[in-house]
């Protein structure tokens, strides 16, 4: 079995450097708005019986003038899945329950209802297999076609540089995933979602699969860092009415419904004793149900 220790470390370093650049950019936006808000960081340690080095993570949280609530988490964890759970995971089994996971996840809820909320997450996992997954989706309470088109175009370009099939597949995956069946509506205006970009080298593909997939995942992160701050700066000074704010708060109720009823990551975390504050960072600062 391949030893992925070095690759996990390489991915971790990338995710943490991306976190640093994103947080610096978001803090710069706050300063442009006349606020001195900054990220507060809390580290947490994972615990697993009989595991001397189970890893942990750092939760970054900022409550600012533009970013009403934004969380940026990084974590790097390793251990063994519970046996019954291992059977449900790509490349794991009761006989081979070991895993590592490193990644970044981000959810931003914005003060101004004209500024879209957003989610971005990328990760590298190893079990008996090793793969990248991730994605980003835009969640405007009040959608603007211009913003939506530019967001999609940016991820389309990131995908196109790596594989001609990626964008169509990963956009559809996001459309299918970020959907609220009981409402018959999507959570937002979509983006991309991908998983199981396998890293074991094969005779079919040229070059090292890990390197290719890391390069793609880096470009997803760069696309996010390019487009989202542009959209924020475009809308953050827009005037809004009490009705606009109400629209945003009701829309956030839908967002909370999706995350609590359907989101696999949230439910996985809640039902397996993960770090509650980090898992529920995604929930909106305020929501209404009329």
């Amino acid at each position: 079995m391949t030893d992925w220790t070095q690759q996990t470390e390489t991915a971790r370093i990338w995710f943490e450097s991306l976190r640093d650049r994103i947080c610096a950019e978001f803090e710069a936006i706050e300063r442009e708005a006349g606020s001195d808000a900054g990220f507060q960081y809390d580290s947490w340690n994972r615990e697993e019986e009989g595991n001397a080095d189970p890893g942990g993570g750092t939760r970054g949280l900022m409550k600012g003038k533009v970013f009403e609530k934004v969380g940026v988490n990084v974590s790097t964890v390793r251990g063994n899945f519970a046996k019954e759970f291992a059977a449900t995971i790509n490349g794991a089994s009761a006989d081979s329950p070991g895993f590592t996971a490193t990644g970044i996840s981000l959810v931003a809820h914005m003060a101004n209802p004209h500024v879209p909320a957003v989610h971005m997450n990328t990760r590298f996992l190893t079990t008996g297999k090793a793969w990248f997954g991730g994605g980003a989706d835009l969640n405007p309470p009040i959608p603007y076609a211009e913003d939506t088109d530019e967001f999609h175009a940016c991820f389309r370009a990131a995908c196109a540089a790596h594989n001609p099939t990626y964008y169509e597949r990963f956009k559809k995956w996001a459309d299918d995933y970020f959907y609220i069946p009981h409402r018959g509506v999507h959570r937002g205006v979509g983006g991309i979602f991908y998983d199981h970009l396998e890293c074991e080298d094969s005779a079919v593909d040229e070059g090292a699969a890990f390197d290719r997939n890391l390069a793609f995942t880096k470009d997803v992160g760069e696309a996010f860092l390019d487009i989202f701050p542009r959209l924020v700066r475009r809308r953050m000074d827009s005037a809004f009415t009490a009705q606009d704010k109400q629209t945003q708060l009701e829309w956030r109720g839908r967002y909370a419904e999706f995350n609590l009823v359907y989101d696999r990551g949230t439910l996985f975390g809640l039902k397996t004793g993960g770090n509650i504050d980090a898992i529920l960072m995604s929930l909106p600062p305020e929501a209404v149900w009329s």
Copy 2:
């Protein structure tokens, strides 16, 4: 197989008359607070292919000065469970998927954080079997031992009049059910929860089981109508601080988490195409996640 048509009608009439009395009492409380708020009623019809008389319900909603948002729903429905689902239901099966259900459900979220929120629900179901279920639990953002004790005492008395084992069993059932495992806390301060009070007459018990169980279910409704308005009147004029309100809004976040992640009725409704407005009536008017 027993024909439960007449009993279903008897139960429906009780649930609707209880609804009328509860709503009248809540509107009286609003008038005492100088508000002219009243319930708005919306009827909905259930749809089931090939079923000419699938039933429906009425959703009552009031947004007042004391009751920030209170929903009181009654419904009476009949039809056939989907086959794969029928196998999971007491007394139903793929060969015998027919059911009727009639009941009342109520959730009140209060404007003043010193006034407890509350939930109450009772119902009569028939499949191949027939049974009553229900319960009530008190959900104070800021608990008062006096209120909690009186709420429990009222349901203890309702139980004791019918069966010496009921209160202890049904209180524990509520404690076990209204629990948020990922937080390690209860949703509120409990109450009672019961299910599968079977109505088929048996040689062991004396008298008609339906009549006994209906009488108990009526006393649960009467206990609610006795105690909850008293608690509301006791606290509705209490002064509260911005911090008290914040405590209430954060507490409502926990309430929304319970209902969306764990509540069987909510998930059953969402995942089987129920009436969304009626199902999600239970969600708080406003919640925050800090």
